[in-house]
């Protein structure tokens, strides 16, 4: 099993429960439990070790054009210091992975990948995609995954906490980053973004400094009630905020258009891998649609459970949980788009062999009230 640089710190924490997450041994939760950690992030702040995420640097005169071909969002229109969310698709329009791309300068891009997909992504980017062996202006892809730690500081108090260690970070705009910042005594790259639906920051540093940074942030956040958080609350937080998870809302059998991520697919871009298929899907009508639902009958909907309308199988649940913030059983389902369903309509979900009723609702389930300063 693989471990992050903070493994020893995690297992020394009383009450921690470790879990195998795609081959990584990571905290599911610490002493307080998943629900308490969830509330801490919604109300105050939480600190996550997300060093399992993969990172690579794509650099050189051909880097921008090559990335612009590989992903659905527009890389060429980025500015220095900006990051974007994007999908990377197969020629058939389904998803290799979802990525965050940071533009350091016109010839240097930092790409963040899902842990379980990192190896696959790098292979795709360097060898397997249709243009991997075409003639390009020179570029280079270097894998940094084993050397870099990544922490996420999330919650309404995140800005106040980071301001104690690095005031410049607290004035970053949303989806902006600073490449060289000293946080506590650690040199970091810091961006304002996250995976919880709250304000927050993601910090990258060398593995050998991860513990110093972790401890410094926890110390700085003591007064605000900052707590370490595990993968359990990371999942329930992202679910409430309608942030997709690879293998659930998106996968190699789901297109971004089906997952309602069309805003990150620039069909007007000259060319990108998957464009033809996605454009065709856009014109012909998207066959399935990701819809949010709330259970009417009590039951926990989970990934893969079948969805029925009038006895007909119309799709499946991608993610579901009991929302700690709202106290409701809820989730998302990928269902046939021509089933003609609107908000308030009832569907049935097969849970432990029984059909349970749910109604379609507007999402996200949780949206933060913007703070005065973003």
């Amino acid at each position: 099993m693989r471990r992050t640089a903070l493994y020893d710190t995690h297992v020394a924490s009383a009450g921690v429960k470790m879990v195998d997450f795609g081959g990584w041994e990571l905290p599911l939760h610490y002493a307080g439990g998943i629900i308490a950690e969830h509330h801490a992030v919604r109300q105050r702040a939480g600190l996550f070790d997300i060093s399992h995420m993969g990172e690579c640097m794509v650099s050189g005169p051909g880097a921008c054009a090559y990335l612009d071909y590989l992903v659905t969002n527009s890389v060429s229109s980025m500015e220095d210091g900006q990051l974007i969310y994007t999908l990377m698709c197969y020629p058939n329009g389904t998803v290799v992975d979802d990525l965050i791309i940071y533009r350091i300068d016109a010839e240097q891009y930092w790409v963040v990948m899902n842990a379980a997909n990192t190896e696959k992504d790098l292979k795709w980017m360097t060898e397997e995609n249709p243009k991997a062996h075409a003639d390009h202006p020179p570029f280079e892809i270097v894998d940094f995954s084993d050397h870099i730690s990544q922490l996420a500081l999330q919650g309404p108090s995140a800005a106040a906490i980071i301001a104690r260690l690095a005031p410049e970070a607290a004035s970053l705009g949303f989806f902006r980053f600073l490449k060289d910042l000293t946080v506590g005594s650690v040199r970091c790259m810091v961006s304002r973004n996250g995976y919880t639906g709250e304000d927050g920051f993601e910090l990258y540093c060398d593995n050998e400094h991860a513990k110093i940074l972790w401890d410094a942030l926890l110390e700085a956040g003591k007064g605000e009630g900052l707590v370490p958080c595990g993968l359990g609350s990371r999942d329930s937080l992202r679910l409430e905020a309608k942030l997709p998870l690879y293998g659930h809302e998106i996968s190699d059998s789901i297109t971004p258009l089906e997952a309602n991520l069309g805003v990150f697919v620039k069909l007007d871009k000259e060319d990108f891998c998957g464009k033809e298929a996605l454009h065709a899907q856009h014109l012909a009508g998207i066959p399935r649609s990701l819809r949010g639902f709330e259970m009417i009958d009590s039951a926990v909907p989970r990934n893969g459970y079948r969805v029925f309308l009038d006895g007909r199988d119309i799709g499946f649940v991608t993610s579901g949980t009991k929302s700690p913030t709202l106290g409701i059983f809820c989730g998302y389902a990928l269902i046939e788009r021509d089933s003609g369903l609107s908000f308030g309509d009832t569907i049935s979900i097969e849970i432990h062999g029984k059909l349970k009723e749910a109604r379609l609702v507007k999402t996200p389930f949780y949206k933060r009230t913007p703070s005065s300063k973003v």
């Binding site: 429960k17 599911l28 939760h29 439990g33 998943i34 629900i35 359990g232 999942d235 329930s236 009590s298 039951a299 926990v300 989970r302 949980t321 009991k322 700690p324 059983f329 432990h352």
Partner: protein, 128 residues
Amino acid sequence: MSKIPAELQYSKDHEWVRIDGDVLYVGITDYAQDSLGEVVYVELPPVGERFAADEEIANVESVKAASAIYNPVAGIVDTVNEELDGSPELINEDCYENHLYTLKDFDAAHVGTLLDAAGYAEFLKTLD
């Protein structure tokens, strides 16, 4: 270290049982609730229905996972613990005070074949 009260009997599926007059109380063990994590929903069996031993009878759902409960002793569901509908977290707070359901007309002879506290403690040692 899991709590294992001496006065109860245990199944290898991590249920406890306790005979009280002519009914049998059934719940999940400390080991089970700790492995599951925070319980958010308990699906209880229909009252009046007969279940065989080892038949799936209930589901305990935590934030992360669903866990089927296998009826440890054949019998007819007499009552279910309705408090768990509104407060499933009671299972985490005290899994021995908060049972899942009771059985009547249960197979009393089978109760004797379940593990005692010492036997269950030994069994848990083989799992880690």
